[in-house]
């Protein structure tokens, strides 16, 4: 087993501390006047959405490097980030409706922000399928999908400002009350650090797979599999 780098261990430690400390601040944070207790979902819902968007851009950068320079490192980065986009996208799409049930009286509205976020999530599901089952050109098709998906992120962000929507606007975070700011930013920091821990973990798996592939090829060249089906 390869040793973990000090940077990785430091990230793991800092994110663990932040994520252990954040719930205490969230419990102590003041209740929002109109929504009450259920608004506390906000402290994990927004960081999940932020990481979904960040991961989308990481994936699109890797995909662009793969398409323009045939960079295998870029492709591995894109594949790792795509899984995290799907994971944090799912967290956003589940926690949002739970909050909405109390705040709006319904789990789901075909509101433009909700719909475009669902679309982003589905694009990255398509990425994973294309990469896994797309055959010889699958990785390139997946990379194209990642870049296409990244173009959806600015649209999701500005959607609440352009169209009529019941979703809270982008002005919520800058205008947070003093007691809500601390738990929110700590939660966001903890989640962001944890994202890089997860990305590092997933990249290690990709590197191990690459090593396995190289060893398979070397063994095949040496005729080790001769006589095997």
């Amino acid at each position: 087993v390869k040793r973990l780098s000090p940077i990785y261990l430091a990230l793991l430690f800092m994110s663990t501390v932040a994520l252990l400390f954040a719930p205490q601040l969230i419990v102590a944070a003041p209740r929002e006047s109109t929504m009450g207790l259920v608004q506390k979902i906000f402290y994990f819902h927004v960081p999940s959405a932020w990481l979904c968007f960040l991961s989308t851009f990481v994936c699109a950068s890797g995909a662009a490097a793969y398409l323009s320079r045939e960079s295998e490192r870029g492709e591995r980065l894109a594949a790792s980030a795509a899984e995290l986009t799907v994971l944090f996208g799912l967290c956003t799409l589940v926690t949002g409706p739970l909050w909405a049930r109390k705040a709006w009286g319904t789990y789901w509205q075909w509101d433009v922000r909700l719909t475009t976020t669902l679309l982003l999530w589905m694009i990255f599901i398509a990425y994973l399928f294309a990469r896994r089952f797309g055959g010889p050109g699958g990785k390139k098709l997946a990379a194209g999908l990642a870049i296409f998906g990244a173009a959806d992120v600015p649209l999701i962000y500005v959607s609440v400002s352009i169209w009529r929507t019941i979703h809270p606007k982008t002005t919520v975070v800058p205008t947070l009350q003093a007691g809500m700011r601390g738990p929110f930013w700590l939660s966001l920091l903890g989640f962001s650090l944890f994202y890089f821990v997860l990305l590092g973990m997933r990249l290690r798996l990709e590197r191990a797979r690459l090593e396995l592939e190289a060893l398979h090829l070397a063994a095949d060249d040496a005729g080790l599999f001769d006589g095997e089906e």
Binding site: V1, T34, M35, G36, L37, V38, Q39, K40, I41, F44, S48, A64, L67, S68, E70, E83, L87, L90, C91, V94, T95, L98, W99, R101, K102, A103, W104, G105, T106, I147, A151, P154, L155, Y157, V158, S161, I162, I166, P168, K169, T170, T171, V172, P174, T175, L176, Q177, L198, M201, R204, L205, A208, R209, E211, L212, L215, H216, A218, A219, L224
Partner: protein, 102 residues
């Protein structure tokens, strides 16, 4: 023989230029929207959106939301660990095949 990627590169450059133009216009739209939007906090919610007598305990929804994130992250980490273990086992088996002394 080295494959010629110059055509693919040109096409890629063209695609990236289109993407950059799209991003630029989205940025413009965003700047315009930011200019016009009112600086408000959380939107007030009409309580009559819930039917009379209907009451959902907020604590249950919060527990479900936080619980889901915890379970989703745990399952994903477990899945990556399981995949990594499988690859490690395959690597070890192959190394042994290549050099039985390992």
């Amino acid at each position: 023989m080295t494959p010629d990627f110059s055509m693919a590169r040109n096409e890629m450059r063209r695609l990236l230029s289109i993407f950059a133009v799209c991003l630029f216009f989205t940025g413009l739209a965003f700047a315009e929207a930011k200019h016009t939007q009112d600086a408000e906090g959380f939107e007030p919610v009409a309580s009559d959106m819930l039917q009379r007598g209907e009451s959902i305990p907020a604590s249950r929804l919060i527990a479900a939301a936080y619980g889901f994130i915890f379970v989703a992250l745990t399952v994903w980490v477990g899945s990556v660990a399981a995949r990594a273990r499988r690859v490690e086992e395959e690597l070890m088996a192959l190394r042994k095949k290549i050099d039985p002394k390992i």
